[in-house]
């Protein structure tokens, strides 16, 4: 993956697109989805995810694996749709020929949805009657394991420097670049969670201790820090961290 998604601290981005009302006041009420196709891209991604062929970490990894040119050019939901398309093909839910056929029909204006009676639902398909129940369950990432946390609250730790993913060069990880090789303090221990660096590559859940680690703003940004008082807190898995003497 390109790590273009890992943009914390990057320079060059302009003003936040804060929505304002007609009196130029910041508004808290935009539509949930700006365009119908945003809603559809989002909903088909959720519904296809419910088929159970991939997990949350894999779907994130697929978005991060879009070619750099596409990652930069695509809007948010275009990234979702592109990653979904690649997953559908890779997991063999859809063939490339089928995709090409539907794309060409869409371009020619001949796209036709079958009538409901002609559609045979797959046995894995997420049904409307189950939507609220499934949303209510969610997909917890906490796992009961006998793994005990190595670090205590208040311990001084340093994060991994290059390529935290030990199984794949450039593989998925949740340690952002801006916090690599930095010293922080264990703020809390949050139980054991599925480890994305493995789970995103289909290597199993490998639940490991997850900590919230506090970094002084000056540790991350040096002289650029806006205030010596400010801090940034990240949720980091144990393998990202090494103990330092206090």
């Amino acid at each position: 993956m390109s790590r273009l998604h890992d943009m914390g601290g990057r320079f060059g981005d302009g003003s936040i697109p804060v929505p304002r009302d007609t009196d130029n006041e910041v508004t808290n009420s935009e539509p949930t989805f700006k365009y119908e196709w945003h809603a559809k891209a989002w909903a088909i991604t959720l519904a296809a995810g419910a088929l159970g062929e991939w997990n949350l970490d894999i779907s994130r990894h697929y978005r991060e694996c879009l070619p750099p040119k596409d990652y930069i050019n695509f809007s948010y939901y275009e990234k979702w749709l592109a990653a979904l398309t690649n997953l559908l093909i890779d997991k063999k839910l859809v063939s490339l020929d089928e995709l090409k056929e539907y794309v060409s029909a869409a371009k020619n204006g001949t796209l036709t949805k079958f009538s409901d009676k002609d559609i045979k639902l797959d046995e894995r398909t997420w049904l409307a009657k189950d939507v609220q129940k499934t949303l209510g369950w969610g997909g917890p990432s906490i796992r009961d394991t006998n793994v005990n946390p190595v670090f205590d609250i208040g311990d001084k730790v340093i994060t991994q420097n290059h390529s935290p993913n030990k199984d794949f060069n450039g593989g998925h990880t949740r340690l952002p670049k801006y916090a690599m090789g930095r010293v922080g303090i264990i703020h809390s221990y949050n139980n054991n969670h599925v480890f994305p660096d493995k789970n995103a590559h289909g290597l199993g859940e490998n639940p490991l201790p997850l900590y919230t680690v506090e970094f002084k703003s000056s540790e991350l940004w040096g002289e650029l820090a806006e205030s010596q008082n400010d801090s940034i807190l990240l949720d980091l898995w144990e393998p990202y961290l090494k103990l330092l003497p206090n």
């Binding site: 519904a47 088929l51 997850l210």
Partner: protein, 214 residues
């Protein structure tokens, strides 16, 4: 010679070793093609799509979070539970599940102001705030909030005293954060439901404050 977009071949914009490079350039058409294919193969059901969209457009949103905040403002025992075990305390109000499986609530005080961001993607507490607004998912918010939160907050019209400590929480795992803003002055006589009307979405992300009493 043609001027503008038309003389760019679609192949110029995509690398061809990915399936998604075969999709049409118009995003609306692109979604329609994939959606129709999945519907016709019976892999998704259109009623499920409608139910999902309706749920997050009309039922799950910042009004939920506002009720949690208002309850914490009027009920100190609830507030204690909320700060100790947010997932359970929020579940008491029947808000739970997807993208809110492990909740943590962080409290604003006169000394500390909390701000939530997800620099790696767009993690956001769906059961209490719904689907994130466009600005939360923007490159600008994701890149700048961890490095210059004070400048970012100014763009939201929020100017903090230099003595106030800012804590920025980057949602890098599956913990989802909600800010408990400070109760506005002059609201002593308001009840829970009136108070919940003062709680803005941005105040629960840390990019705003609750509405003031005029």
């Amino acid at each position: 010679m043609m001027i503008g977009k038309k003389n760019i071949d679609e192949s110029d914009n995509h690398s061809h070793d990915h399936a998604h490079s075969h999709l049409p350039s118009d995003p609306e058409l692109r979604v329609k093609a994939v959606e129709t294919l999945l519907l016709n193969k019976g892999l998704i059901d259109s009623k499920t799509l409608d139910e999902l969209i309706d749920t997050y457009e009309n039922r799950i949103g910042p009004k939920n979070g506002a009720k949690v905040v208002a309850k914490a403002w009027v009920d100190p025992v609830y507030k204690k539970r909320l700060l100790n075990d947010a997932t359970s305390a929020i579940r008491e109000l029947s808000y739970q599940g997807r993208q809110g499986e492990n909740m943590v609530v962080v409290e604003n005080t006169p000394e500390t102001h909390n701000v939530i961001v997800c620099t790696l993607c767009s993690c956001y507490p769906w059961p209490v705030l719904g689907i994130p607004p466009t600005w939360y998912k923007s490159d600008e918010y994701r890149s700048r909030t961890v490095r210059e939160p004070r400048k970012v907050l100014l763009e939201f019209g929020l100017s903090l005293d230099p003595k106030v400590q800012i804590k920025v929480w980057d949602s890098t795992a599956e913990i989802r954060y909600l800010v408990l803003p400070m109760r506005p002055k002059g609201t002593e006589n308001m009840d829970e439901s009136e108070l919940s009307e003062l709680v803005t979405r941005n105040s629960m992300i840390g990019t705003g404050l609750p509405k003031e009493i005029k």
